[in-house]
């Protein structure tokens, strides 16, 4: 579970965040660019977004004077969507961005920002060049007509045996045998699902740079909001077999697509493929480095990440 369970009306960083930031720069992401620019999109709360470049690294920022903290979940969702929209726009304009967590703020003005970019260039440059032209793609495989119990009984000797014993058993014994039967069914379905997922993962791993398995059902509230529209098209008997996210070179997008076409060609399977996304899953968590090496460069700290 990745949701943050801390109460939203209790600031978690009361000690270091409550003070005024006065002058700060809200960081969306960094990109590879040589020149300052303005980005044709509006940022969080309608702020205008600019790119401050130093040494070939551009920070996508807006001016701000406080953290974005609210007890109102809807408000936070709006902010997050704006945050993501800006990162997407930056990606389109400058190539693969390295995104920052929501509410990452650097204290100080543009001069301080340039200074920070110079200080961090040794960390940022390799990350940017490694991720250049690579994007994140999300894959979800959904099954509509999973084999029913009867089909599985025909295929599995153990189930068939239990089935026969149940027919001849006393009432009490039948109850216990049915428990075994159900357990075996669950095992078979799980094994089948895991085999399919593992095969897909192995196929993808040959083409893409990295594959991650995600939880089969997203736990996050935000994800629920984003997916609310999708829900309706799922039939009752649709089951998610696996959810994966991959980091792939943009030239390999078609290759990934044809692997997935192979999966989708199987009866009863549907593949949902989204992307390219900024490499959210694959970028290091800049600004929150737990090692403290580059940790918390913001001076203001990052607020709770509601994801």
């Amino acid at each position: 579970m990745t949701t943050d369970e801390r109460p939203r009306d209790a600031p978690t960083n009361a000690t270091d965040a409550s003070p005024d930031i006065e002058t700060g720069r809200y960081l969306y992401c960094v990109v590879q660019t040589d020149d300052d620019a303005t980005l044709e999109t509006t940022g969080i709360d309608g702020e205008s977004v600019s790119v401050v470049a130093e040494d070939g690294i551009g920070a996508v920022v807006h001016d701000c004077d406080s953290l974005y903290d609210s007890a109102d979940l809807t408000q936070i969702q709006h902010w997050l969507v704006r945050h993501q929209t800006v990162v997407d726009a930056a990606g389109q304009a400058f190539g693969t961005p390295v995104p920052f967590q929501f509410d990452t703020i650097l204290r100080g003005d543009d001069t301080r920002l340039r200074e920070w970019l110079r200080e961090e260039s040794e960390t940022l440059r390799p990350v940017l060049s490694e991720l250049a032209d690579h994007w994140e793609y999300r894959i979800e495989v959904v099954e509509f007509d999973a084999p029913d119990d009867r089909t599985l009984v025909e295929r599995d000797d153990r189930l068939a045996e239990l089935d026969e014993r149940i027919a001849d058993a006393s009432e009490g014994q039948a109850f216990l045998l049915e428990k075994q039967f159900e357990q075996r069914l669950t095992e078979l379905r799980t094994a089948r699902r895991e085999t399919m997922a593992a095969e897909l993962e192995a196929d993808l791993a040959e083409t893409v740079r990295e594959v991650h398995t995600l939880d089969r059902s997203p736990a996050s509230d935000i994800a629920d909001v984003a997916r609310a529209e999708d829900e309706t098209e799922d039939g009752d008997d649709a089951e998610t077999l696996c959810r994966l996210t991959v980091l792939a070179h943009e030239d390999d997008e078609d290759a990934v697509g044809s692997i997935l076409d192979g999966v989708a060609a199987e009866d009863g399977l549907e593949v949902r493929f989204t992307g390219p996304w900024p490499p959210y899953t694959f970028a290091p968590e800049l600004g929150t480095d737990p090692d403290g090496q580059n940790g918390d460069p913001t001076g203001a700290g990052t607020d709770t990440d509601p994801l």
Binding site: M1, T2, L80, G172, Q173, S220, T245, W277
Partner: protein
């Protein structure tokens, strides 16, 4: 999941029943597995197996009835799901000691066109 919220006032009663029933269900699951194990071990007579199964079936039916009467079927399912998540998290945290925490799954926000 760090807390189990049982609510307050009237909610508290239902929350508490949900919690109790969930725990009882987990206990029954364990009993059923043990009963199956003993049945398969061959040490029980047919009569004993039948009695054991019938008793467990009765308990299970009672619990189902109780859940329906209280309208907490979904609540119990949700709590069981949360507890599963809790266990998975605990296992992941054990793993996380050796590997840097770089967990995917926190970034699924936004719609496809946003």
């Amino acid at each position: 999941m760090s807390t189990i919220d049982v609510g307050d006032g009237d909610d508290a009663r239902q929350g508490l029943i949900t919690l109790v029933i969930t725990v009882v269900e987990l206990l029954i699951d364990a009993l059923e597995r043990e009963a199956v194990r003993r049945m398969e071990s061959g040490n029980l007579s047919d009569e004993e197996i039948d009695r054991l199964g019938q008793q467990l079936a009765t308990i299970e039916a009672e619990i189902e009835q109780l859940k329906a009467d209280e309208g907490i079927e979904d609540g119990v399912d949700d709590l069981r799901g949360d507890l599963d998540g809790l266990v998975s998290d605990a296992i992941e945290q054990l793993d996380a000691d050796s590997t840097p925490r770089h967990a995917p799954g926190y970034s699924v926000f936004g719609g496809e066109n946003s």
